[in-house]
Symmetry: C2
Subunit: 424 residues, 2 copies
């Protein structure tokens, strides 16, 4: 509720696709907006697998939140974690010691990797939800190959990567790794027989890309196999160790690298706010994306669930949710009629398997695959990337990778500079 | 000495400018070459300050050693540290457990930052010798500004950077930071008064860029001041703490960020090999860059010193040294006449202060500065960068930065992904 003498204050927690879209859609509304995120950057998560497979740089898929927000007169950014929320006093506390009073609050903290209680995942598996995750995984895979070059005994384990989860993330990661192995590491590591290196994709369901039409699932599976990926369908993981992964059928694979792409759950921060949560820990919202008990608190994206109309945890849902919430806030501020309930418009799905190979499914049943699908995937992702500079760099990197089969980013940078450099 | 039945084996330790040039110059010589480096990448050190000031990505200034070497039929690369050298048995041991017998050995492990015994440097100051150093410094500066936005009391300290050392590295770092502050952080941090943020450059001598002609030193000093850098000449550091730096005149500056660019010493690995060392711990070599006691062991670059003819620790000396050593090895292998002693040809020096401002000094007394000098600096560095892909990306980043005054890389990536992501 606007107090007299100042404009209503909208606080948005989370600078992912949902939060960022909310802020942008409020650009022409008579409000002040504060965007809070624990990181200083937006992460373009759909391309993290390219960072992990040495195709793109970290800076290509991240954009500084302050830089994005600086262009918008009514918005400012704060790097901080929310430590508490008082819904009645309309105030959030931040770990920087700051406290923000709000008239409208938008929660958009997204999702994190879910281990579904499988032992060893938290300790040994690699996630792929942040730029740091992707960089860590890249460092690890390249370091394993370096070790494999010197250690014949452990070579098979060191050059085997097991990816758990046959959704778009797992499929894209598997395809990207298979290309990295075949096109780059084969020549970089003459001492290692790359044909003995393995990319294994494990999926509990009978198909990869379960959200796609059967014909596209079959195409994706065929492509993965042609790229040399060992696809194991109907297989579920019982446990992950530092040197192996075990399946529920009792078999196991020796590996130093398990990538966990089996699914997500809501950001656990959501659960401690005191609101009702539903499937996967997502905060229950009404048809307007509001928390039922508080008309001025909204939840968008992966963190939200309307039990009457559960939606997939994908970027387009978050972005359209952000647009909707901005419309609702604008209506409340201007005291005009509440807009119609949120309705998600599915514009289709896509997943790329590798060079010249992607599957695209449009809502009218239209589908694309192969080179045409891949071109569509490429174009859309270039357009979606935030900031021209990132686009230009990504274009240079992709063109270079495509033309030369090279991957320019296969540089292991020590994560702990002080310990590693020994220089000062 | 070549054993019958196999080609002579040349082992090169270090993939900096000197080691890499040695390997390349041996491409057409009848030898097998093994290049060993503790990192998996060559680092283009002259541009690390651009990574630290958010102008370039880590991957722009690094190139995978295996990728460089893969193009050369007689060379291979190993990522490892040398743990011991037996000069008489002609064998080096690596931390991977491998052991390499050599006919010729080239030591090219370069230099590390020297703290000259000043207390607190090792614990609190930031170096700028590796990509990880540069990334850590960038993260730190941006994090300090985030903290400054939330903490008015500590703001002055958090937004003050003190750079120690007025050589090219210190001057370039000071200019780059001043630009970052003025052009980017000013708009990113509306809560912080950038005019109170300070870049301080400290130099013990009465001039910056002491290796340059007086006219160019004066030009550089003038430019630094125009960019807003607080230059303190004739000032030496007594100690560095976590929140301040103290000078020998008893004064001090409150700062959370001290960049130590005051000088280098030879890689300490050199000192444990049992060879005679000279000034700065550099291994003493003869006029042929050989260790006097062992005709088949060479030292090139920052690690070497010929007491009769001490040369500066800069990239051109290392590269020309690599060429010379390759010629000597080629002559030994072919049993032809030993080439004439190593003679360094000084092709000039350059340092950039910032946008449109650089100083260039050629050995014939010719000098350039301002926009012309800056263009020369830009062109030379683009040509020198290894690998087309890096060049293209660097060009995109620089063009973008120049045209928009933006810095695209101001992304804080957590260095410890496992601790920071909380995702798996």
């Amino acid at each position: 509720m606007a107090q007299s003498g100042r404009r209503p204050h909208v606080v948005v927690i989370g600078a992912g696709f949902g939060g960022l879209r909310t802020v942008k859609a409020l650009a022409d509304v008579e409000v002040d907006v504060t965007l809070v995120d624990a990181r200083n950057h937006h992460t373009f998560q759909p391309l993290l697998y390219q960072v992990a497979t040495a195709g793109l740089d970290v800076d290509d898929v991240c954009a500084a939140v302050r830089g994005i927000v600086a262009k918008q007169a009514n918005a400012r950014a704060v790097q901080a974690r929310m430590t508490s929320l008082d819904s009645d006093a309309q105030r959030v506390e931040l770990d920087t010691g700051q406290s923000l009073e709000f008239d409208h609050l938008v929660l958009a903290m997204g999702a994190v990797t879910a281990d579904f209680g499988v032992p060893g995942v938290a300790e040994h598996a690699f996630g792929l939800k942040s730029a740091a995750d992707a960089r860590l995984l890249r460092n690890h895979v390249l370091t394993c190959f370096e070790q494999a070059a010197a250690d014949e005994q452990a070579r098979a384990r060191l050059t085997t990567v097991v990816i758990v989860g046959g959704g778009p993330t797992g499929v894209e990661m598997a395809g990207g790794l298979a290309e990295l192995f075949d096109r780059v590491l084969r020549s970089d590591f003459p001492d290692v027989d790359i044909d003995e290196a393995r990319v294994v994709l494990v999926e509990g369901a009978p198909d990869v890309l379960g959200a796609f039409q059967p014909a596209l699932r079959a195409k994706a599976l065929d492509r993965l196999k042609r790229f040399g990926v060992d696809v194991r369908l109907g297989t579920t993981v019982a446990g992950v160790g530092s040197a192996s992964v075990t399946f529920t059928d009792g078999t196991s694979i020796d590996t130093s690298t398990v990538v966990w792409a089996a699914g997500v759950r809501a950001n656990p921060v959501g659960a401690v706010l005191g609101f009702e949560t539903g499937h996967g820990g997502r905060i229950v919202v009404d048809e307007d994306l509001r928390v039922p008990s508080h008309a001025n608190i909204y939840v968008v994206g992966d963190l939200a669930i309307d039990p009457q109309n559960p939606l997939p945890q994908v970027a387009p849902v978050a972005m359209q949710g952000g647009d909707h919430v901005a419309r609702s806030i604008a209506a409340a501020v201007a005291s005009t009629a509440t807009p119609p309930p949120f309705e998600y418009v599915d514009k289709g799905s896509m997943a790329t398997i590798g060079r010249n190979a992607a599957v695209v499914q449009l809502p009218n049943g239209f589908k694309l695959s192969g080179f045409v699908g891949w071109s569509a995937w490429l174009g859309l992702h270039l357009i979606m990337l935030i900031g021209f500079r990132n686009r230009a760099n990504v274009l240079v990197n992709w063109a270079w990778n495509y033309l030369t089969y090279d991957r320019g980013s296969r540089v292991i940078v020590e994560l702990d500079a002080k310990a590693a450099s020994g220089s000062v």
